[in-house]
């Protein structure tokens, strides 16, 4: 079943507190025992451009976003225009009374000419007039309720009560007024909202905002007929400890749990939030005392990747975090790490490319790039997480993989997961293991000559950290002999290439299949969805719904894409009637990799490349179309403003 939920959206200019409002909204829902899935969309801009946050709230866990909006809280006129089409029948729109007379084509400076043309056509097709009021009137055919709120009047009254004259100070609270009105309309417990505010702001600011929420509730209860609004948010009891977090936060926590003690980065969206979160928690509490993670903002991504490699050689678990453009700059450093068998972890959050592309938007375009970045051939691991919980556990596990096999690992994520926020039961992290692979000590090396790249049966050589007595060691980006000194002899070259690349077979053999793939749904079905990364939630919800309608379908989530567990995948996919590949890119990259390595070619593709993540609504329809033989071989999804 597609889980029943209440969908709230807040939208406004960047810098107007859309994010903060959404954090408060999500927390308040969490305090009432509800589950939240939030999606954040924003422009590459600091202030004034449109941003919004969609929050799906339900009595049971939801796994993905849907496109419906039950209640839209518009901080400005632009939000109304952009999202009015997403508001469902009998939904509601909260709007600033001052915006009602805004002329849509003339007064909204942030609309591009392209968008104006789009709106103009929409207005013409539907016979809509020029003002926001005309847009809102048009929604009446969907029985949408309009809630105009005189934000400035309310703020003035709050200012009088709190003796604040500065209008700039007061207008920062429009977002909190919008939350107050929203929750009042949804008839939600006011105290939970106040608690969420207190948890978000410092004491003094919190007090101001609590006052604002009170004004908003009172205003809404007095002026709106909330009884005819059909959606209601009801709290439910829970004793289960839960957290509400973003993908960036999950990765940061997973990393320190997994032993990451040096993190390097150069600021880039959507990766930088992770590093900042880490730095703000640099001192770590441990079972026996304290440790610390050093977070280093470097001058560029080249320095980031190479200083992380340096830290690895010295014996720290080290990682760097970036997105596509930064990863492009890291290619040479990645090759050095590959050649020197450095257990380097790169966390790669994909965003829309090519080039600067869509800096703040979602995509899964960099799978093949992650597989092939850097010149030459060497072993690496690519592990792709599918949701926030996987982000957390994988962020810890990638260090074990890197050190056990002495290869660079790319933890492949995306903007969708980075900026989503979701409710989870507190992760059960008490059993997360640290396996540092084969490390030799000063004592074991006494009287022996240490060779960092000693030939062994597995290709993995015993590793000593820089600074270990009896283990003077050499590294070079050149081809080298066992001692790490430059060597161009063909017979050494051959042995070294074999040593490094045979690890791909070793990884394939030694990493358990449970870590490499997940399977959901009906194993015996003649239909199977195959996908990777963040479409996971929407796919699971969709096949559950389809099952309730009598359609049978399995879902194979590929997590370790390189080296690919080809044999297992082949066995899972062969003899299926319908193989449906679902990815957020144009070229169906995983589909191509499966065709090449597992020798199985999907016969349906569901792709999306608008920069917005997949939503259950559209994934469900697209899979259903394939299962009922009504789909073309390639379906392209487009939902989301």
């Amino acid at each position: 079943m597609i889980i029943e939920s209440i969908n709230w959206m807040a939208g406004g200019p960047q810098g107007s507190g859309v994010d903060t409002a959404s954090t408060i909204f999500g927390r308040a829902c969490g305090y009432g025992g509800l589950w939240v899935f939030g999606r954040r969309e924003y422009h590459s801009n600091i202030k004034t451009m449109h941003s919004y946050f969609h929050q799906r709230v339900s009595k049971e866990p939801t796994l993905a976003n849907i496109s419906d909006v039950d209640l839209l809280a518009a901080f400005d006129a632009e939000t109304v225009v952009r999202h009015v089409g997403e508001v469902v029948n009998e939904g509601g729109i909260i709007v600033d009374s001052r915006d009602l007379n805004v002329n849509v084509l003339k007064d909204i400076a942030t609309f591009s000419e392209d968008y104006k043309n789009f709106v103009r056509a929409y207005m013409k097709d539907n016979g809509i007039g020029e003002t926001i009021n005309d847009f809102l009137n048009y929604t009446k055919q969907k029985n949408i309720q309009i809630f105009p709120v005189p934000y400035m009047d309310l703020l003035k009254r709050i200012g009088e009560q709190l003796k604040i004259e500065k209008i700039s100070m007061l207008s920062k609270m429009i977002n909190v007024l919008a939350i107050g009105v929203s929750f009042a309309i949804l008839k939600y417990d006011r105290k939970l909202v106040e608690d969420a505010i207190k948890a978000t702001f410092h004491e003094k600011i919190a007090a101001m905002n609590v006052t604002a929420v009170d004004y908003a509730y009172d205003y809404a209860e007095k002026n709106f007929n909330t009884n005819i609004f059909k959606h209601k948010l009801e709290k439910q009891e829970t004793t289960q400890p839960r957290i509400f977090l973003t993908g960036n936060q999950a990765v940061a926590m997973g990393k320190v749990l997994g032993g990451c003690r040096v993190q390097t980065y150069y600021p880039i969206t959507p990766a930088a939030d992770e590093s900042e979160y880490l730095e703000s928690h640099e001192i770590l509490k441990t079972k026996t005392g304290q440790e610390a993670v050093i977070v280093l903002q470097t001058e560029d991504e080249i320095a980031a990747v190479n200083s992380a490699s340096g830290a690895c050689l010295a014996g720290a678990r080290a990682a760097t975090s970036t997105s596509g453009p930064g990863f492009s700059l890291m290619a040479e450093g990645l090759g050095w790490a590959g050649n020197n068998e450095v257990p380097l972890v790169i966390t790669l959050y994909q965003r829309g490319g090519p080039s600067t592309g869509q800096p703040t938007r979602h995509s899964q375009q960099d799978l093949r790039f992650a597989m092939h970045a850097a010149h030459g051939e060497f072993a690496r691991i690519i592990l792709a997480s599918g949701d926030i919980q996987e982000c957390f556990f994988d962020a810890a596990e990638v260090f074990n993989l890197a050190e056990k096999f002495q290869v660079p690992v790319i933890h492949l994520l995306d903007k969708g997961m980075a900026n989503c926020s979701q409710t989870y039961p507190v992760f059960d992290y008490g059993m997360v293991k640290i396996n540092r692979g084969e490390i030799v000590s000063e004592k074991e090396l006494e009287g022996k000559e240490y060779k960092r790249f000693q030939f062994t049966e597995t290709g993995v050589s015993p590793r000593a950290f820089l600074g270990t007595k009896n283990a003077v060691q050499y590294y070079t980006g050149d081809e080298h002999n066992e001692s790490g000194n430059i060597n161009e002899e063909p017979f050494i070259r051959r042995k070294m290439m074999d040593k490094r690349l045979q690890k791909l077979d070793l990884i394939d053999k030694e990493v358990p299949i449970e870590m490499k793939v997940n399977f959901f749904g009906d194993k015996d079905s003649e239909n199977i969805v195959v996908s990777w990364g963040s479409p996971k939630g929407a796919i699971i919800e969709s096949i559950n719904q389809l099952k309730s309608e009598g359609f049978s379908c399995g879902y194979l989530q590929v997590r370790m894409i390189h080296p690919l567990p080809s044999a297992h995948i082949k066995q899972m996919l062969q003899n299926k009637r319908r193989i449906i590949d679902i990815e957020d890119n144009w070229t169906a990259q995983l589909g191509g990799i499966l065709t090449e390595h597992a020798l199985v070619k999907p016969n349906y593709y569901i792709l999306k490349y608008t920069g917005r993540p997949m939503m259950t609504t559209e994934v469900y329809q697209a899979i259903k179309a394939a299962l009922t033989d009504k789909a073309p071989q390639r379906q392209v999804l487009t939902l989301g403003a």
Binding site: I243, K285, N306, G310, T423, M431, G477
Partner: protein, 320 residues
Amino acid sequence: MEPKPSEYKTGVYVDWCPGCGDFGILSGLQMALAELALEPHNVVIVSGIGNAGKTPHFIKANGVHTLHGRLLPFAMGIKIANPNLEVIGVGGDGDGLGIGAGHFVNTGRRNIDMTYLLYNNGVYGLTKGQASPTLRLGIQTKALPQPNINEATNPVALAIVSGYTFVARSYAFDVMHLKDTIKRAIQHKGLAFVECLQPCPVYNDINTKDWYGGEDRKDSAGKAQSRLYKLENEGFDPIVHDAAEVFKKKVAGLERAEEWGDRIPIGVFYQNPFEPTFQERFTKRIAFYPENPPAKQQLKDENGISSVDLGQFIDDLKTS
């Protein structure tokens, strides 16, 4: 007992051209390591690409031969993870001031307690003699099809304004001076930079050993008048004795750094012991950093389970 310089040699064949200035720098560095009695396993020589980049393979100490222009980020990562290591960067002029110029400047901002030797011969030797960022405008060394169309950077001046707290220059064929300068650089608390002037006997036919030595300008007695002079012999005091002197001392160093041609200073241009090192800056926030740096932390308990308690994170994120 003090080790001998020969104890810092390896069996690896040194494949530099006969007469290369690199030999002098290698000897100076090995002598400095010996006189300071640094243990090979505690020393890390980090290099870039080019002839200078091969240096670590010839020294009995840990060697990390990295990428073109990237030795400073690697060195930084090593030093941050384990600040107890003696980290020494070695690289050419093209490596440090062409492809690696961004790191050259930004590493200065951090005052990491390590040493960086820049081998400066004005050309890219290993690719057959193209102009490096330190070759002056209009100079046509023998492999250049046309005279150099770019003006030169000034390594000493750039180091001073970028925040290096020990800035010196020496000469590959004055090995004793070079050795003493490298020793001072290693002993300096903070980021130390030594520009090592060196002839390239194959590709730089302008700034040759004879040119530096002044063989073209003999005095009446027939004695060559070296173009190099020692700052210390002229009573130049590069040391900041009081934090208030920093700007004045930098300006004095920059004035000397401008000299070139008939009078080329070698020696220390600037030394500031007051600037906190990168390690000290971290220690202000993380008191146990020097004793328990990233490379030494335990990470796990006796059962191999991660020892981190995520309570501090979870409390902030908790909703029920």
